[in-house]
């Protein structure tokens, strides 16, 4: 199994700074939902370099991104399956940590 980046929407949505999107080395991997005002990750494109984690921790100072084991994410967003369809992002089922389910 492997790690991928995961954005905590409730923290990210407070600022909507988009800094991580600018510095991720991979194209269309940190996507941005303008209506929900949050970044989210295309897990099938993430190479787990952790640049976004340090950007969000140190530049944005929000610590909204963590590296998570792929099997611990429910409904991971995959660009190869969903395509780039901004109109659908608002209504999609959000990726979340399996551990968040119980609470």
């Amino acid at each position: 199994m492997y790690l991928v980046a995961h954005v905590d929407t409730s923290i990210c949505a407070e600022t909507a700074c988009k800094l991580c999107t600018q510095f991720c080395p991979e194209a269309n991997t940190i996507l941005y939902d303008n209506e929900k005002k949050t970044a989210f990750i295309a897990t099938d494109r993430c190479k787990a370099c952790e640049i976004c984690v340090s950007i969000c921790d140190n530049m944005a100072k929000h610590s909204a991104i963590k590296m998570i084991m792929i099997t611990d994410i429910e409904n991971p967003f995959e660009l190869s399956k969903s395509g780039f369809r901004p109109a659908e992002w608002n209504s999609m089922v959000r990726p979340k940590l399996i551990s968040e389910k119980e609470s």
């Binding site: 600018q22 510095f23 190479k47 370099c49 950007i55 395509g83 780039f84």
Partner: protein
């Protein structure tokens, strides 16, 4: 070619790959004000490729693809090296040339495009590693500048031959030890930006890819000046994190350190008075347009 050229015939929509449909629906072809601001909300002109996790070359690629003024009328010329792993995943016409020949191929291409499309701007952008630009292709690089060929040369300077495991390059720093260059480099880093200036380039810039807005300004300027005035050259530091022993998340800091005051990638640019006048004139026209549209 314009945006209409990538449209899909209605009959074929159901069999076209999703990636292609996304490019038709959400990319920035044909947008005159395209730029770095579009990245989160558009389909980028580059997709999954096999560069290492965290490689600054892939950040630079994203920044450049977002910044070129008219991708639908651009042809890129690549060469062998890590960059050649990306070109198959780039949604702009491109040619892979034999290692070192990129500026010769671009010369022929640019001239042919001028003959074939006399009334259209067709941009040619060479993008190659330091080994290709400065060592094996130096002859072709310089001769194209001497001849005043109107295209942009971008060198991804990672100061060694990354794709073959870390051999010494002309742009490597003096004293640097790499896996396949254990003795340490005995000569100074070649001063290609200065050589470019003296060889006929109308615009030269040295930078890293740590600031997307700077990359955007410099790339736009280089492409537009190459269209109208003469050859342009950009040297961008894209450290090979693998060969210099950095972690995947350390590339950005490495670039910031290298662009600090007095360091070898401190931002610097050179522009001829003619090219500067052209840029000023363009800025003045844009401002006048803005004022006119605000008044309406």
């Amino acid at each position: 070619m314009g945006r209409e050229k990538i449209q899909i015939n209605e009959e074929f929509w159901d069999i076209m790959p999703d990636d292609y449909k996304d490019l038709v629906n959400h990319s920035t072809y044909g947008k005159t004000d395209r730029g770095w601001k579009d990245v989160g909300s558009s389909t980028e002109l580059i997709a999954e490729h096999s560069l290492c996790a965290g490689c600054p070359e892939s950040i630079a690629f994203r920044h450049i693809m977002a910044s070129m003024p008219s991708p639908e009328d651009t042809v890129m010329v690549g060469s062998t090296g890590c960059t050649s792993l990306v070109f198959p995943m780039v949604a702009v016409h491109n040619i892979h040339s034999l290692f070192g020949n990129q500026n010769a191929v671009a010369t022929g291409l640019k001239r042919a495009l001028n003959v074939r499309f006399p009334n259209k701007n067709k941009d040619v952008i060479v993008l190659a590693g330091d080994g290709a630009t400065v060592d094996i292709g130096l002859d072709m690089t310089l001769q194209s500048w001497f001849r005043g060929e109107r295209f942009t040369t971008i060198c991804f300077d990672n100061e060694l031959y990354a794709n073959t495991g870390g051999q010494e390059s002309g742009l490597m720093q003096k004293g640097f030890v790499a896996k396949m260059a254990p003795v340490g480099k005995k000569f100074e880093k070649v001063r290609l930006p200065e050589i470019a200036r003296e060889s006929g380039c109308a615009y030269v810039a040295v930078l890293t890819t740590s600031k997307p807005s700077l990359v955007e300004r410099v790339v736009r300027q280089a492409v537009l000046i190459a269209r109208e005035i003469g050859p342009t050259y950009l040297q961008i530091y894209t450290p090979c994190i693998l060969e210099i022993g950095k972690q995947s998340m350390e590339g950005l800091q490495e670039m910031r350190d290298a662009e600090a005051a007095g360091e070898r990638f401190k931002f610097r640019e050179f522009i001829t008075p003619e090219a500067q006048a052209f840029i000023d004139d363009m800025a003045a026209k844009k401002k006048a347009e803005k004022l006119a549209s605000a008044a309406n």
